[in-house]
């Protein structure tokens, strides 16, 4: 009889006891492979390196216009300004070059990086601001203006080099990567769109007059000159714009959300050639 009560009791309690959720292993390399496979199955004729050309792979007329625009690249002015700013000395006599390996030349393809000291992801823009801070200068706006110009110059020196973002085997770095991935795939805003809704599931399709760029390769062309903006903008400027489009309240440009998102998104383009600075409608 006692055994019967115990069994009955266990049966009653069983549904209340939640099994511990299976721990999901963070495997960036496997994600990267799955990400590419997804796009390869969507666009079997498109070569991997071609993804850096974004929407121009899917619209002949826009590609023609782009080729015409690129005869006189609209980012040229920013490139010149960026070079001058990059070489300008700080009051202590040092320059941005002193803060980066190889004097900051040809190293942009390795950003964003995980900084083990601060336990945060540093994008190139944030690294520039950290450099300013180290030399007693005020941080700059991370979305446009002088920092976008400096980034334009720096990424131009990496043009053609394969994107090489590393995710160290450090739980903090893996957590940052995973948070970026979650942000990318989570729906948000009044329109309830995720980044993936447009740039994975609807990549290559039209949203009103615009062709949606695939997420693969999208990080390879920032900073970009957008005709809509009339000037250069960084990747974080685009994040803010995408958030606004779905009626989601953007977060701060240097927030962990955008840092981690940039980390995930750029890692997904690993191996593709840097094609920045870019030009888009």
């Amino acid at each position: 009889m006692r055994v019967l009560f115990v069994v009955l009791g266990m049966l009653l309690i069983a549904p209340l006891v939640q099994a511990a959720p299976p721990s999901v292993a963070v495997e960036p390399a496997a994600d990267l492979k799955a990400f590419r496979t997804n796009f390869r199955s969507q666009f079997p004729d498109l070569l991997l390196n071609g993804y850096v050309n974004g929407p121009y792979n899917f619209s002949k007329s826009e590609r023609t216009q782009w080729n015409q625009i690129m005869e006189f690249p609209p980012y040229e002015f920013a490139l010149q300004e960026g070079k001058e700013l990059f070489e300008t000395k700080f009051p202590d006599g040092k320059s941005y070059a002193s803060c980066f390996p190889n004097g900051g030349i040809g190293i942009a393809q390795t950003y964003p990086k995980f900084d083990a000291i601060s336990s945060k992801v540093a994008t190139l823009g944030i690294a520039l601001n950290e450099c300013r801070d180290a030399h007693g200068m005020q941080p700059l706006n991370l979305t446009k203006g002088p920092p976008a110009a400096i980034e334009t110059y720096m990424v131009h020196t990496s043009r053609g080099k394969p994107i090489d973002v590393t995710i160290p085997d450090d739980p903090r770095a893996l957590a940052a990567y995973e948070a970026g991935k979650e942000y990318f795939y989570s729906r948000r805003g009044q329109l309830n769109f995720s980044c993936a809704s447009c740039h994975v599931q609807a990549a290559g399709k039209r949203l009103r007059g615009d062709v949606l760029a695939p997420a693969l390769g999208i990080a390879a062309i920032f900073p970009i000159y957008r005709s809509k903006w009339g000037d250069m903008g960084t990747l974080v400027r685009r994040f803010i714009g995408c958030n606004k489009k779905v009626n989601a309240q953007p977060v701060k440009a240097d927030s962990a959300r955008y840092r981690n998102l940039a980390y995930f998104l750029t890692y997904m383009s690993n191996g593709l050639p840097m094609a920045a600075p870019g030009a888009r409608p």
């Binding site: 999901v24 994600d31 799955a34 991935k181 979650e182 942000y183 795939y185 989570s186 729906r187 948000r188 805003g189 009044q190 309830n192 995720s194 993936a196 599931q201 958030n243 606004k244 009626n247 989601a248 309240q249 953007p250 977060v251 959300r257």
Partner: protein, 106 residues
């Protein structure tokens, strides 16, 4: 004497009216302020869930602007609107937060 009495009564009535109006305005101000505070908290919660809406923020800003202009009725209406939007955004975020992994597979 009667005239004096009438004047005094009038003044007392007017004072009572002004005081009552002031008290009502003060009550409206308190109500609007409380509503704004609740909306701010809800929006902060939605932002923590990565799903704060810009429309909520816009309603909140309009409520705060109306409050600054002592338009408490408008402030209250906008704050209540912001609260509604924030509650919907929180419900949306909480209901699908656990499903985001499914989208990776799709």
């Amino acid at each position: 004497m009667t005239r004096m009495f009438q004047l005094l009564c009038g003044a007392a009535f007017a004072t009572a009216l002004v005081l009552s109006a002031a008290r009502a305005a003060n009550a409206d101000a308190i109500l609007a302020k409380q509503s704004i505070a609740v909306a701010v908290e809800l929006q902060a919660h939605a932002m923590n869930l990565d799903d704060g809406w810009s429309t909520t923020e816009a309603a909140l800003q309009q409520a705060q602007a109306a409050y600054a202009k002592h338009d408490y009725a408008m402030a209250l209406a906008q704050a209540q609107h912001a609260q509604k939007l924030a509650r919907i955004s929180i419900a949306q975020a909480e209901s699908q937060k656990k499903f985001w992994r499914n989208e990776v597979a799709n």
